[in-house]
């Protein structure tokens, strides 16, 4: 049976809407550094970028209505926050030819460009899914069911018809593999 590492499955989204600690921890692990990289690239201020990203997670926490496309949602929230920031910045300093102001302005235009922005959104999703997809099939099935769909070892055991001992081994293996391949999962749970 093919299992896709899909953050848009209803179970993960429910966990997010219910403000589950596991879902938010995973979200931080997978998304924080990437969103920060994205925000910093446009707003050119590390501290402000960090604040924007922290606020993005707070916004997600306050939202109870994410039903489809998690990646699209978290990306949109981040992009809008950056656009707001740049809009203010390009208007704040009204000295002619001010360097920062002009840079904010071209970055605002760049980020407001929907077709360019779509590239980032898609690449972000790919990078997130890749982190899980690189695993061997069996290993991935177990990992996704346990860590993304939030099933218990017992439930996975029933569904995939393997022993709980095997499940534990597979998760250990999955984490080990990902440690090698992707630092993203280094300390995941």
């Amino acid at each position: 049976m093919e299992t896709r590492a899909d953050l848009n499955n209803g179970i993960f989204l429910n966990l997010v809407n219910e403000k589950s600690a596991i879902a938010f921890q995973l979200m931080f692990k997978l998304y924080r550094a990437k969103l920060l990289h994205f925000a910093y690239s446009y707003i050119s201020n590390k501290q402000d970028a960090e604040e924007i990203i922290q606020d993005v997670f707070v916004k997600i926490w306050k939202t109870n209505t994410i039903h489809t496309n998690f990646n699209g949602f978290i990306y949109k929230v981040t992009r809008n926050a950056c656009l707001d920031y740049l809009r203010k910045k390009k208007l704040t300093l009204n000295i002619e030819n001010n360097f920062q102001q002009i840079e904010a302005s071209i970055n605002y235009n760049a980020l407001a460009d929907d077709s360019a922005s779509k590239i980032i959104e898609n690449e972000l999703e790919d990078a997130i899914l890749n982190a899980v997809e690189y695993l061997p099939e069996k290993c991935k099935n177990v990992f996704v069911k346990s860590r993304i769909e939030g099933l218990s070892h017992k439930e996975i055991s029933k569904e995939l018809n393997i022993s709980t001992k095997t499940i534990e081994n597979q998760i250990t293996k999955a984490l080990k593999q990902m440690r090698l391949r992707l630092s993203d999962f280094l300390t995941l749970l």
Binding site: A21, F24, Q25, F28, K29, L30, Y31, R32, A33, K34, L36, H37, F38, S41, Q54, F57, V58, W61, F99, I102, E103, I106, N107, N109, A110, D113, S115, A116, S117, I119, I120, N122, E123, L124, A127, N130, S183, D184, F185, L186, T187
Partner: protein
Amino acid sequence: MQEKQIIKFIKGELTVDERQKAIKWIRSSSENQAKFNLLKATHIGATFIDTSGDDSAIYYKRFTQKVKSKQGYKYISAIASLIVISIFLINYFDQPVEKTEITEIPTTDIIEKNIINTVTSKGVKSEVILPDGSKVILNADSKLTYPKKFSDSTRNVTLIGEAFFDIEHDSNRPFLVDANEIKIRVLGTTFNVKSYSKDEKIETTLVSGKVELIKDLDTTPLELAPSQKGVFYKSQNKLKIEEVNSSNIIAWKEGTLIFKNTSMSQVAIDLERKYNVNFIINSQKLLNYEYTGTFDNLSIIEVLDLLVISSPIKYVIKDEKVILEMN
């Protein structure tokens, strides 16, 4: 302009002059801007893989503190009071540290004309038995004034600082605590009063029984029920009631400090009293940072280490002062 040059610009690899040229080129036409938009998006998309989420646990922890502290929090009043504390603290920390004689003597009883003053220095607690048998535990850096013998009509004491009162019941002689702006009247009960002159509020927490808070003679006294805290805001001259867990409020008796969404400026003041240390906080952001945590009979070093682990704070000890900084 060459594409290579624009990619360098996106990567931040150009000199100031070259940057200005690149920016000029981008701004010169909408086609150029569109080309830049795509190059930039592609570059960011391709570099997601290089990012690492190794440190996400720290940010996740900060996030949980943030969302917890935001729940049910009254922003405006909080921000207003934080500004007040901060302004005050900046002045407070700028003052040269005065060493008083009391620092050398943990607890002193100064008796004059049948009036007893029990004074505790920073880092010391003291238990006082009043003439009527009532028990008072006096927290650090506090002063309790009471007569050698109470009068027949009232039992009057004066408090500067923090104390826990366990008062003997006597319906004929009400017990009165003078906490400067606020007077507390009781018949027999247990309660806690925190009224340091440097704090911007006076807090009375009722553990059991009944107490009345009297602001002035014109206002009707405010009655507290157990596990309620009457907070008097000095700057606003206002008295408000809050529901609290009274056992947390009096945990200091057992050496435990409990903070719940407490501004770092207040945390520092409480730590200074308990450990007889001086803090320096220069960052406005840190003064406003809200801390939630429990220090259960820890040494000052253990407390500082815990602060470092649980919040974006680092510390340096210099000239016997603890300097706290945002990490």
